[in-house]
């Protein structure tokens, strides 16, 4: 498996001391359900203190199962999980979820319907004396912007308010790790964007190490320090959002992280040859040769009307600030270009193509080289 592990920048924990060890470490984790379904298939992952990490993938890729394993809500089949260097799930023993100090915000929020907002938030810190507990609850209500709603019941709140109560509730016991299970998916688009920002700010301010599970790339990209892409229980790639978008290791990651076109290509003597011409390689050594595909993102292609151009506009999708053009090439291949919607080009117009070679990624065929 090809996983690029980058050196994470040194991150300070809330106490201000530099902590060398990872906050969360998964080593060769397997989870097999009765009937032989392997939901998590040899996952190794290390997350730093205070990092905001996203696990991304389509439904059924094992991301929620991974989250449940970290929280201790499911038991793993093999491997180990350690929090702050202490093993919590292993071959022989498992720390029960109530002793892990791992907070979870569930997709359906899972608020207690029979308790008020204040009682919900105070649930996890009931061992605290009454007065400091009250102060802590009030502080958290302030933090999530719900001051004054402490006496309300969950059914009296809007979806966004519920989500914030769920966040405050899991923050109350100062968890070592915070797990977010698609916490924004039940909200409408506008609210989602603003809550996303707010949630990141709150979690970053408290220095909480966070793992977000999502299928929404925009969400993962905008929130995370690093993103892990899950494919059938395996991590295909881990890295900063910019890197996984522009330098995907395979077609699966490329398509999961955004729109991409793939042109048949061949690499020879350090240059990539395609029907559109030849390009320099970024990373391939001289003398290396292989057949494969060239991945091109629509935002790396620009077009301009030109009667002698090589492509013809055959479709346009208006996205507001930009327009996504579909182009037909002489050999019948299709390609997309993302252009600012300043001067629209009408369908049927012949255009010249310009590529920004910074992000061209060559993917060799399995049997190639």
């Amino acid at each position: 498996m090809n996983v690029s592990i980058r050196q994470a920048p040194e991150i300070r924990d809330p106490s201000g001391h530099a902590t060398p060890g990872p906050a969360l470490e998964l080593r060769d984790v397997y989870k097999e359900y009765p009937g032989g379904v392997r939901a998590v298939d040899g996952l190794t992952l290390s997350i730093e203190q205070g990092e905001f990490f996203s696990l991304m993938g389509p439904s059924g890729c094992g991301k929620t199962t991974t989250l449940r394993l970290i929280a201790g809500l499911d038991s793993l089949t093999a491997g180990s999980i350690a929090i702050s260097g202490v093993e919590v799930s292993g071959r022989t023993h498992a720390v029960p979820p109530e002793e892990r100090r791992v907070g979870v915000v569930f997709q359906d929020y899972a608020l207690f319907p029979h308790m008020t907002v204040a009682e919900n938030i105070g649930f996890g810190i009931h061992a605290m004396p009454r007065q400091p507990r009250g102060i802590r609850v009030a502080d958290l209500l302030d933090l999530v912007g719900l001051a004054g709603l402490d006496g309300k019941y969950p059914h009296e709140l809007s979806g966004g308010q519920r989500q914030r109560v769920a966040l405050a509730r899991s923050l109350a016991p100062s968890p070592r790790i915070m797990l977010l299970d698609e916490p924004f998916s039940n909200l409408d688009a506008e609210l989602r964007a603003s809550l996303r920002e707010e949630t990141r700010a709150i979690l970053k301010a408290s220095g909480t190490t966070t793992v977000l599970v999502t299928h929404d790339r925009e969400e993962a990209f905008s929130l995370s320090d690093r993103v892990g892409l899950l494919n059938n229980g395996r991590l295909d790639q881990v890295g900063a959002a910019y890197d996984v978008y522009h330098y995907p290791v395979n077609r699966y990651v490329a398509e999961l992280t955004g729109k991409a076109d793939f042109l048949p290509a061949e690499i020879r003597n350090g240059r990539i040859y395609t029907s559109l011409g030849e390009f320099p390689t970024n990373d391939r050594p001289e003398g290396h040769s292989a057949r494969g595909e060239l991945m091109i993102r629509p935002d790396d292609v620009s077009v301009a009307p030109d009667a002698n151009g090589t492509g013809v506009i055959c479709g346009a999708e208006f996205l507001g600030g930009s327009i996504l053009y579909a182009l037909e090439l002489p050999d019948g291949e299709r390609l997309h270009a993302l252009m600012p919607s300043v001067r629209p080009i009408s369908a049927g117009t012949r255009v010249t193509l310009h590529f920004d070679p910074a992000h061209l990624v060559f993917m060799a065929h399995e049997n190639g080289s």
């Binding site: 929280a71 201790g72 809500l73 029960p96 979820p97 109530e98 002793e99 892990r100 100090r101 791992v102 907070g103 979870v104 569930f106 997709q107 359906d108 899972a110 608020l111 207690f112 319907p113 029979h114 649930f123 996890g124 009931h126 019941y153 059914h155 769920a166 509730r169 899991s170 109350a172 016991p173 968890p175």
Partner: protein
């Protein structure tokens, strides 16, 4: 340009619900509601116009004890069923132990045993002449130190053993429909098992628990035969005693009025909690609460607890009845089998009659309240579905007055025309019985029919009509097939309730018209245990039918369980 016809809301309703123009329909529901309410109104009215000397006499003699006993019984059975039913429900929902899957349904079986049959078995086993005390004496010990079997405590224990399934079923459903992620959230917030139960599961399942307890308490309140065996007279028993001992309808009605007040309190309790359930339900995507495996001796303890309850509440009475039946069959006098056949025939025909009446009335009520959903029909529906809370003694005594009045008026009318009376017409007739049964048990059929109608989405009917089906075709090909299972289930429930019913049958039956239940009751009063066995066994076997229905209804939950 084509002119499109805009469908107004009213047209939509017509399309989905059939023909329009149903001005008289709400009146039908009012009539049914009136007839259902009549017996209760009669006893309530007589409570408001008390005959003072009777009350003074009752107050001086048995009334304080009866009221005290009633409170003790209802409270005791309520508490007993809460602990046993609620505890077992928690055990099978939150823990995994050997046999759990089977106990989930087997623990409902005691519901098939009526309280008075349970009472008979336990008295026969534990009374001075029973095998237990005989054995103690035979081994040279004294039985003087043993507690008196015929006591209130025994009555409460015996009733708890057969009534706990009400709480068990509702509580189990209550626990299992709770969202699993809520429990997981509590766990990640540091809650241990104990806290999960007391702070999350229990408060959320409380409405189910209270509803179950009030249903069980209603049964205990309505019982008169068991308490009589156990020499623990309650108000229900008092109503029948006053009616039979004094043949004093006025006093019996007044006492029944008091009984109706108790029932009303329980009904209010139950309705209140049902209403509050609405916002407590949370949609859960994850499977229900986390299940903790119990291994080793803990698992064995759990299995043994369930087995012990099963044995005491079902295994023992069933075995005893079977054993008696064998004895009875071996030494049966010629001609006795003919008696049993007549008893069975009487019971079955009576139960079938009541089931048919209840089903027709329930269908009409459910259909009309959909055809014209007005405030009138809604009020009528809520009145009609109250009957199940009323003890049989209330209905029986409440029906007697109106029936007698009808007979008197009819006789006067006939006399003035033909010059001679015809005697009793409705009193002591099957019509009177059918009326009383319907008033008491219609609610059972209604909830079943209503639930099945609820399942027909309005769009289904619209789709059929858009495909060119007229109301007749919609009715026979779409609606009826969807409602029929509900009607049949409702009929089965009423059928079985009538099979085991005692007070109404005792008071209103035609002279000499014995049923299986009446036979069991009379033979038990004479301590002729083996003679009760075959009819009692028949009642228990028939009683398994609704248990099966209930289990099928909760089958979805079981499948969910298996997928886990």
């Amino acid at each position: 340009m084509t002119r499109r016809r805009v469908l107004r809301a009213e047209d939509m309703r017509r399309l989905t619900r059939g023909r329009g123009g149903h001005g008289l329909l709400p009146l039908v529901t009012l009539l049914i509601a009136g007839l259902t309410l009549l017996p209760v109104a009669v006893v309530a009215f007589s409570l408001l116009t008390p005959t003072t000397e009777v009350w003074r006499h009752l107050l001086d003699t048995v009334l304080p004890r009866m009221v005290g006993n009633t409170l003790l019984l209802v409270g005791g059975v309520g508490l007993g069923t809460l602990v046993v039913g609620g505890g077992l429900a928690w055990l099978v929902s939150a823990f995994d132990f050997p046999g759990r899957r089977h106990f989930r349904w087997m623990l409902v079986l005691p519901m098939a045993v009526p309280t008075y049959i349970m009472g008979i078995v336990y008295i026969a086993l534990l009374d001075a002449s029973g095998p237990v005390q005989s054995f103690v004496r035979a081994s040279g010990w004294s039985t003087a130190g043993l507690a008196e079997v015929r006591s209130g405590t025994s009555a409460i224990i015996v009733m708890t053993l057969v009534l706990y399934p009400y709480v068990f079923l509702l509580a189990r459903a209550g626990f299992e429909e709770l969202s699993g992620s809520m429990f997981e959230a509590a766990q990640t917030l540091g809650a241990d098992r104990k806290r999960l139960f007391f702070r999350v599961a229990l408060p959320l399942a409380r409405p189910s628990l209270v509803a179950g307890v009030s249903l069980a308490s209603m049964e205990a309140l309505a019982d008169f035969a068991t308490v009589r065996y156990f020499n623990f007279p309650t108000v229900s028993d008092g109503v029948l005693r006053v009616w039979y001992g004094m043949m004093e309808l006025g006093a019996a009605s007044e006492l029944a009025g008091l009984l109706a007040m108790f029932a009303l309190l329980l009904l209010l309790l139950e309705r209140r909690t049902r209403r509050r359930r609405a916002y407590h339900q949370s949609k859960g995507k994850l499977p229900g609460m986390p299940v903790t495996p119990l291994a080793g001796w803990r698992g064995a303890m759990a299995s043994m607890t369930c087995s012990a309850v099963m044995l005491a509440a079902f295994g023992l009475p069933a075995t005893q009845l079977l054993a008696w039946s064998v004895t009875e069959l071996a030494s049966m006098q010629p001609g006795v089998s003919a008696v049993y056949v007549r008893l069975a025939w009487n019971s079955v025909s009576l139960a079938a009659l009541a089931a048919a009446c209840a089903a027709v009335v329930a269908f009409v009520m459910a259909a009309v309240s959909r055809l014209s959903p007005t405030r009138v029909t809604r009020a009528a529906t809520s009145v009609v579905t109250m009957g199940y809370a009323m003890p049989g003694a209330v209905i029986a005594v409440g029906v007697l007055g109106p029936l007698a009045l009808f007979d008197r008026v009819a006789n006067m009318a006939i006399e003035s025309v033909a010059g001679g009376g015809v005697g009793l017409i409705l009193t002591g007739s099957l019509v009177g019985l059918a009326y009383a049964y319907t008033a008491r048990f219609m609610a059972v059929a209604y909830s079943s029919v209503d639930a099945s109608m609820e399942r027909i989405a309005p769009n289904t009917v619209l789709a059929a009509r858009s495909l060119g089906a007229g109301w007749l075709r919609v009715g026979t090909r779409v609606q009826l097939p969807l409602i029929l299972p509900g009607i049949i289930a409702g009929m089965v429930l009423v059928f079985v309730d009538v099979m085991r019913e005692l007070p109404i049958t005792v008071v209103l039956r035609p002279f000499g018209y014995d049923t299986l239940a009446i036979w069991v009751w009379q033979m038990a009063a004479e301590s002729l245990w083996t003679s009760t066995a075959i009819p009692a066994l028949a009642i228990v076997l028939v009683g398994l039918l609704p248990v099966k229905l209930l289990l099928d209804a909760s089958g979805a939950g079981m499948q969910r369980e298996e997928r886990r």
